[in-house]
Amino acid sequence: MIVLEKRRQPSRHWMLAAPVLAVLLTMVVGGAMFAALGVAPLEAIRTIFWDPLFDPQFAAYSRPQLLVKAGPLILIAIGLSLGFRAGIWNIGAEGQYIMGAICGAAAGLAVYPSASVLVFPLMVVAGALGGWAWAMIPAFFKTRFGTNEILVSLMLVYVAESILASVSSGLLRNPEGRGFPGSRNLSQWDAAANRELIAGTGLHWGVVAAFIAVILAYILLTRHIQGFNIRLSGEAPRAARFAGVNPARVVIFCLGTAGALAGLAGLFEVAGPAGQISIDFNSGYGFTAIIVAFLGRLHPVGILLAGLLMALTYIGGELAQLMLGLPGASIQLFQGMLLFFLLGVDVLTNYRLRLGRGEKA
């Protein structure tokens, strides 16, 4: 019989190997799923993971998309990872993302049709504030009353979605849009557009912000006392309290940062790739970012890589939909399976497998 034996310390090797093994397992099981859907498994895997980057026909279009999709995922996941490390489960990033987009776009539209260079910075600040404020709701209730932040942050996603539905056909509707829902197109308004900075790369301000967030998070976690406090609160809450860490402050910091970053991601999306506030401009990045955060081991550099990989599955998934007729939902399932396998494989990081009966059992 195989038994698990707890390691004294988590294995560093397995910590790095687990995501790779999880990706491989997902490819195998995902391949079987594709075969069951009547698509040749190897071809499907190639279409998802290889063709978007290297196929002569599609790469020119899909390579820039990699950064466009990875940007918001990384930005949101970096914020979430801080909370997850401290044992604060903000799973409402999708709502913070929506509110950031709404507030940012509203701030811009309020001064339409100004051509001032300050319009875009104004929108960026408003977007970050919108996401931050939305995340402060669960943070306030958690610190004041000890209310469960998981459920509150998630419920606020649905509230944000109904606000989105309301403003896109009401307050922010394009007055020249012949009554169709949806705001003015921000990406066609020079002062507000979040444009591609280097043609053909997909690099826009949101991607730049994501890279900056990765670097700042790395410095925070390895060099700054607040980063140490966050890690301590997650790994040893009692020790953290004895060390004088104020738990409320950690909650407010983690949720606030995550909210602001998600809000930024929303604003950059709505002023760039999405172009306008519409009822379905959000595409679930806030939820996928949870997978990205775990796949990246809650480490800034890992999240960078995981964000790129997850962006690849989005683009490859679209390609597979187009070329092989693979249902769009199968990619969603594929991404979910990835998280599942990762969590399963992770047992090897903390435990050792042994044959025979464990003596201490």
């Binding site: 698990l4 509150v152 419920m155």
Partner: protein, 305 residues
């Protein structure tokens, strides 16, 4: 406003509370065993799609319900294996279960969009249904509504009066002590998770087969999360789960009725109201400080620790 008929209102509250009640009572048992399964939404929507698909293909709503319970319970076992045997983090795994369930259901459900399901017949309660007012209100429903009420009573009696219920509570309160007494912590928890999955599946199937009745992608729309909130609201007690589910069912029905009646309230506020009420209730409960959560809730168990 006069168009809202109180008799029909109560009857439709029962209809809309039933899926919440089924999912919440299942999750309550899981949490009493010390496991926090955040995947209720994923299991519910899997139940919704499988129930609908099987009911359409077999022409029998009852078979659909059975298949939904089995499918969601099978899905919940992946959560069980990961958290109980591979000792993964319960919060993360529960979220993963929800994401997997949403993807899986969208994949299975695609061909069934826009179809009609067979009707679940009303349970014939003879003279009770003919009673004035009360009969129309309480005794004109299908079997699943009464099953959900029976389930609450059964869970209550099980936890309170049976030895197995006592063991389950012991495992949830202090798994080390339960283990030292020789109880199989992992096995008991797996059984609880399986039961919770089956209940969530029934709840989901009730949405797609009776409440709506149709399959649309993402149709649970947070019902699974509300069920989780109901468990907290109920302080992990069966009868309070019943109260909670009917309260939330009532809010849903009321807001739909107000929307239909064209009340002078913004639609966004009305459609967000079930979620706002959930938040308000969670805050009120936590502000009162009455938690009563099982002591081992969410903590992983490994025999050599």
């Amino acid at each position: 406003m006069e168009s809202i008929n109180p008799v029909l209102l109560i009857a439709s509250v029962m209809l809309s509370a039933t899926p919440l009640l089924l999912a919440a009572i299942g999750e309550m048992v899981v949490e009493r065993a010390g496991v926090l399964n955040l995947g209720v939404e994923g299991m519910m929507i899997t139940g919704a799609v499988v129930g609908f698909a099987v009911a359409v293909s077999t022409g029998s709503a009852a078979t659909g319900f059975a298949a939904a319970a089995l499918a969601a319970a099978a899905l919940s076992l992946t959560f069980g294996v990961l958290t109980q045997i591979f000792l993964s983090n319960q919060v993360a795994t529960g979220l993963g279960l929800t994401l997997v369930g949403l993807g899986l259901s969208a994949l299975i459900g695609k061909p069934y969009e826009g179809m009609k399901s067979p009707v679940l017949p009303r349970l014939d309660l003879g003279p009770l249904s003919d009673l004035p007012v009360v009969g129309r209100m309480l005794f004109t429903h299908d079997a699943v509504v009464y099953l959900s009420l029976l389930l609450v009573a059964a869970v209550w009696a099980f936890l309170r009066y049976t030895r197995a219920g006592l063991v389950l509570r012991a495992v949830g309160e202090n798994h080390e002590a339960a283990h030292a007494l020789g109880y199989k912590v992992v096995r008991i928890r797996l059984l609880a998770i399986f039961f919770g999955g089956a209940c969530a599946g029934l709840g989901g199937a009730y949405l797609s087969l009776v409440r709506v009745p149709q399959w649309t992608e993402g149709m649970t729309a947070g019902a699974g999360w509300i069920a989780l909130a109901i468990v907290v609201f109920a302080s992990w007690r069966p009868w309070r789960v019943l109260v909670g589910a009917y309260l939330f069912g009532g809010v849903t029905v009321l807001q739909l009725n107000l929307q239909a009646a064209g009340a002078q309230v913004p639609v966004a506020l009305l459609s967000a109201s079930p979620y706002l009420v959930t938040i308000a209730v969670l805050v009120l409960i936590s502000a009162r400080g009455a938690h009563a959560a099982p002591a081992s809730l969410g903590r992983p168990f490994h025999a050599t620790q």
